[in-house]
């Protein structure tokens, strides 16, 4: 099993002919993800060549694409000025999962889009996220697939490369993953830590979860409380940003300490109070996962 994406995933790529979209569509098809179509307004009727000469039909609109391909998921690679419109179109099209890679979507637009997605019962992952990979099944987004292998660890993270760092260490130690999810570094994201924890809760193959947080907001704190109340699967944590100064945005739009709230110390303490062991260094995640699995 796995969460969010698997062999049933029928994926569309919004912005398939763009620089990022075309590169990663090739990568996703190479990994075996079932990319059933792409959307670029004005290029409907053409085909995109995926891995090994696979011909992927391009559509002008999401509506046509979903009608013709019975897609159930989409990934958005379009530039920030058009990403909000692409997400709205995706939500309106009938797919159940919208993975938004784009960084720099205005927060006020995301506020309306998240409300729209909730109205329609559509899940958004991101924006400003690396996507999700279920090793051996499907990859949606930009997570390098060379660093993952199937196994019992679920990974949830707000960042991209830090996740890769954690995952490659797990993989090298022989600890494969059910699914690795990057939930995104923006202040308003569609799928929270708790949402992912709930999904992992019903995934019988996931035996331990790694939760990688960072400064800013209270998503980690709420997740920690949820873990202690609702989850039997053990969780190992890591928080980035111990050395970040307050009031400054650390790259991610959401990574900012406001007043005394959202510090790494607060989050670490909250993890520990709720039974989540916290790694001091990324490399220590491996040891904690191993110890947990050995128990």
């Amino acid at each position: 099993m796995a969460i969010l994406v698997n062999t049933e995933t029928r994926l569309l790529v919004q912005g398939i002919t763009g620089r990022d979209g075309s590169f990663h569509t090739k990568e996703m098809t190479r990994y075996g993800t079932n990319v059933v179509g792409g959307v670029t307004p004005g290029k409907g009727g053409l085909f995109f060549e995926g891995h090994d000469g696979q011909q992927i039909p391009i559509f002008d609109t999401m509506e046509e694409a979903v009608r013709e391909t019975a897609a159930n998921s989409t990934v958005v690679y379009v530039p920030p000025a058009f990403a909000a419109g692409a997400m709205e179109e995706a939500i309106d099209s009938g797919v159940g999962l919208v993975v938004a890679i784009t960084e720099g979507v205005p927060v006020l637009e995301m506020s309306r889009i998240h409300a729209f997605a909730k109205d329609r019962g559509v899940r958004i992952l991101g924006p400003n996220c690396p996507g999700v990979i279920s090793p051996g099944k499907a990859k949606v987004g930009i997570i390098p697939d060379q660093i993952v292998v199937p196994g019992p660890v679920g990974v949830i993270s707000r960042s991209g490369t830090l996740t890769y760092e954690a995952v490659i260490n797990l993989t090298r130690a022989g600890l494969g993953q059910t699914t690795c999810v990057g939930i995104g570094g923006d202040p308003l994201i569609g799928t929270s830590f708790i949402d992912c924890l709930e999904l992992f809760k019903s995934d019988h193959e996931t035996q331990v979860i790694v939760m990688i947080g960072e400064i800013g907001g209270t998503d980690e704190q709420e997740a920690a409380q949820w873990v202690s109340q609702h989850l039997r699967i053990p969780v190992v944590g890591f928080i980035a940003g111990q050395t970040a100064p307050p009031g400054r945005q650390m790259g991610h739009a959401g990574a900012i300490i406001s007043g005394s709230s959202g510090t790494a110390d607060e989050k670490t303490r909250c993890f520990e109070e709720n039974g989540i062991r916290v790694a001091a260094r990324p490399i220590d995640i491996v040891r904690l996962v191993k110890e947990t699995l050995d128990r």
């Binding site: 205005p106 006020l108 409300a115 760092e165 202040p187 990574a255 990324p282």
Partner: protein, 377 residues
């Protein structure tokens, strides 16, 4: 992007909110000339992106032209929380009956704009939040509907009892919400919102931040950016498309990805070092970005060692390696460069480095430990 008080007031004014007049002076002659247009007493206020201006001596009352000149001379050029004051706002002083707080920000939990009001204004709202949290009222606004009239009325009644003040506050709350949305703001606050003995409600001080991602829609707001007030390295970083935050240490960090960059800083600390900066070269790096990053890092005189921690994904290791080699040709770098390079096109990257006589680690812990060991502490 933070904007100055006078710029925020300009936006409030455009949205119909009563704001006292005022103009900007860059020297004391200008300040005196402006003050002549108003009845004394006037206020001379430092324009910097920082709170606590009053306590720092950046806000002064002036009853005469001489007072104005002296105040402007005192304030211009001073530093407040590390920000140099280049401009002062000269504005008439107001008679104050009551002071309140009114702000709007984006709440992560409800994923919506939240309006915050407090009948105690004029003081740091963070302090009120600690000392008297029950006096702060928050109302989440459903982005699908916007602000309803009855919501504005309910908030206004928290601030005032008197019917006419309530009515003015209802308009101001609606106008502030309009200003917030139409400017693509991430935060706006009026503190204090005053009522005067003659029964007028006015915005006496204002703060506003614009969501950087909205700026492309608002050319006018882009021009509000105060490059002079910004450290030169941050201007360079922004123009090169990099995220950079200066810190006080001596290990210059160059990382791809914000989370990994923070984790790298933390690991420097773990191994007993002190990071000189946060720097994220972003996802789709090209060699030129790496060159720019090295220029920025080396512009900090505290830097004793430069640490690269690159995990290739979208970022290709060969691009980064090429950037490092190019930079070494363009600029003179005295500090040792300690590199970790792994992931996409790792082999190609290592090849480029070794051709230039450089080498790289593959483990994050190794590279950080090595970099820290190069510093004098």
């Amino acid at each position: 992007m933070d904007i100055h008080e006078y710029q925020a007031k300009e936006i409030l004014r455009e949205n119909g909110i009563p704001v006292p007049p005022g103009e900007i002076a860059k020297n004391s002659d200008q300040a005196v000339a402006i003050a002549k247009n108003y009845e004394f007493t006037v206020v001379v206020k430092a324009q910097v992106h920082s709170g606590g201006r009053g306590k720092a001596g950046g806000v002064k009352l002036a009853k005469t032209q001489d007072d104005v000149r002296k105040a402007a001379d005192d304030i211009l050029g001073m530093f407040i929380s590390g920000h140099k004051v280049n401009e002062v706002l000269v504005t008439p002083a107001e008679d104050i009956d009551t002071e309140a707080y009114l702000g709007i920000l984006i709440d992560r939990e409800t994923q919506s704009p939240v309006i915050v009001v407090c009948a105690e204004g004029g003081i740091d709202i963070e302090e009120v939040a600690v000392n008297n949290p029950n006096s702060i009222h928050k109302l989440s606004i459903d982005p699908r509907y916007g602000l309803f009239r009855h919501q504005a009325y309910g908030l206004a009644r928290i601030l005032y009892q008197e019917k006419d003040l309530v009515k003015q506050a209802v308009s101001i709350i609606e106008q502030l919400y309009q200003a917030f949305i139409s400017s693509g703001a991430s935060m706006v606050e009026i503190n204090p919102l005053i009522s005067t003995p003659t029964g007028d409600v006015k915005a006496i001080d204002a703060k506003m931040s614009i969501d950087d991602s909205e700026l492309f829609k608002h050319p006018k707001l882009q021009s509000y950016r105060d490059v002079q007030a910004e450290p030169r390295a941050e201007t360079m970083a922004r123009e090169a498309g990099l995220s950079y935050v200066k810190l006080d240490g001596n290990v210059g960090c160059c990382v791809n990805g914000a989370g990994l960059a923070m984790a790298t800083m933390d690991l420097v600390k773990y191994y007993g070092g002190d990071p000189a900066n946060f720097l994220d070269i972003g996802g789709s790096s090209n060699p030129q970005k790496v060159v720019a990053a090295l220029k920025i890092i080396t512009s900090d005189p505290n830097v004793e060692v430069i640490l690269f921690n690159i995990f290739g994904g979208i970022t290709r290791c060969d691009d980064v390696a090429k950037g490092i080699v190019d930079a070494l040709k363009e600029i003179e770098i005295k500090s040792p460069i300690i590199i970790r390079l792994t992931g996409t096109n790792e082999a190609e990257g290592l090849e480029i480095l070794s051709s230039a006589g450089l080498s790289a680690f593959t483990s994050m812990d190794d590279v950080v430990e090595q970099a820290v060991s190069e510093t004098t502490k």
